[in-house]
């Protein structure tokens, strides 16, 4: 469906993926705000896959497939971890949870992207950013 990348469970490799995607978005004339949104969601999703999914295991990999079109950006990130149920993540905006460190990454992915969906056992996440039409002059 698009560009495929396979990286080891290494956060510096995640940066490389981000840089490649950032270049592709800039080449397709995505706005600074759109690039920021996608980069942030990507950061959160890749850190989740490497840290929580693969538990930083160097023998496990992360598979990335993405596609940039003039209208939308799509990405699917698969790790080799045990997966999780997103419904089990406590709501980090609940006043009782505001100081807990977990769940904010997922919240930001949902806040900055148009679509975020988990698949299978929860080790696969697909995200999309649908571009908004430019405001009329």
């Amino acid at each position: 469906m698009g560009t495929e990348l396979t990286i080891p469970s290494d956060l510096s490799e995640a940066r490389r993926v981000q840089e490649l995607i950032e270049s592709a978005l800039s080449a397709a004339a995505y706005t600074e705000h759109e690039v920021f949104s996608i980069k942030l969601a990507l950061e959160e999703a890749l850190v989740n896959a490497i840290k929580h999914g693969n538990q930083m295991d160097p023998d496990k990999r992360v598979f990335v497939v993405y596609k940039v079109t003039p209208d939308r950006f799509d990405i699917r990130i698969t790790d080799e971890g045990a997966g999780f149920n997103p419904a089990d993540v406590p709501d980090p905006t609940d006043p009782d949870n505001l100081e807990r460190p977990c769940g904010r990454g997922l919240l930001l992915m949902r806040g900055f992207m148009t679509e975020v969906e988990y698949h299978g056992r929860g080790n696969v996440v697909s995200m999309a950013k649908v571009r908004e039409p430019a405001p009329a002059e």
């Binding site: 920021f36 980090p92 505001l98 100081e99 904010r104």
Partner: protein
């Protein structure tokens, strides 16, 4: 890689009256190890140097992920515990959305610029 140098300075601290004004050296606040060190430096201001009023200037920061937010909340709590105050200022619009989406803008004091930030300690 700059992030491989653990003793590198990550914060610039300037005293304006009794307020510690902190600027971040890095444009991107990422990586657990880096964030851990930024957190340690920030907590030292309160725990060891006895600062009670801390103004964090985000003017230089272009990118920040959720990993840094926990440190800011801990700093806020530390200052609250000693009747101090934490204020954040000059946050770029996109990064401000990070605070809004996570609703941390409800518990942290956020000022538009440094001047307004300094005044919010009055």
């Amino acid at each position: 890689m700059a992030s491989q140098q653990p003793r590198r300075r990550r914060l610039e601290v300037e005293d304006i009256g009794d307020i510690a004004v902190v600027n971040f050296v890095d444009k991107k606040i990422l990586d657990e190890q880096n964030i851990q060190m930024i957190g340690d430096d920030l907590f030292r201001l309160v725990d060891e140097l006895g600062r009670r009023k801390v103004l964090l200037n985000f003017g230089n920061v272009e990118f920040m992920s959720s990993a840094a937010l926990g440190k800011l909340i801990t700093l806020h709590r530390k200052l609250q515990a000693v009747q101090g105050k934490l204020v954040l200022c000059k946050i770029a619009k996109d990064i401000l959305d990070v605070f809004k989406i996570t609703k941390l803008d409800k518990i942290l004091t956020i000022a538009t610029d440094e001047q307004a930030g300094l005044q919010s300690f009055a």
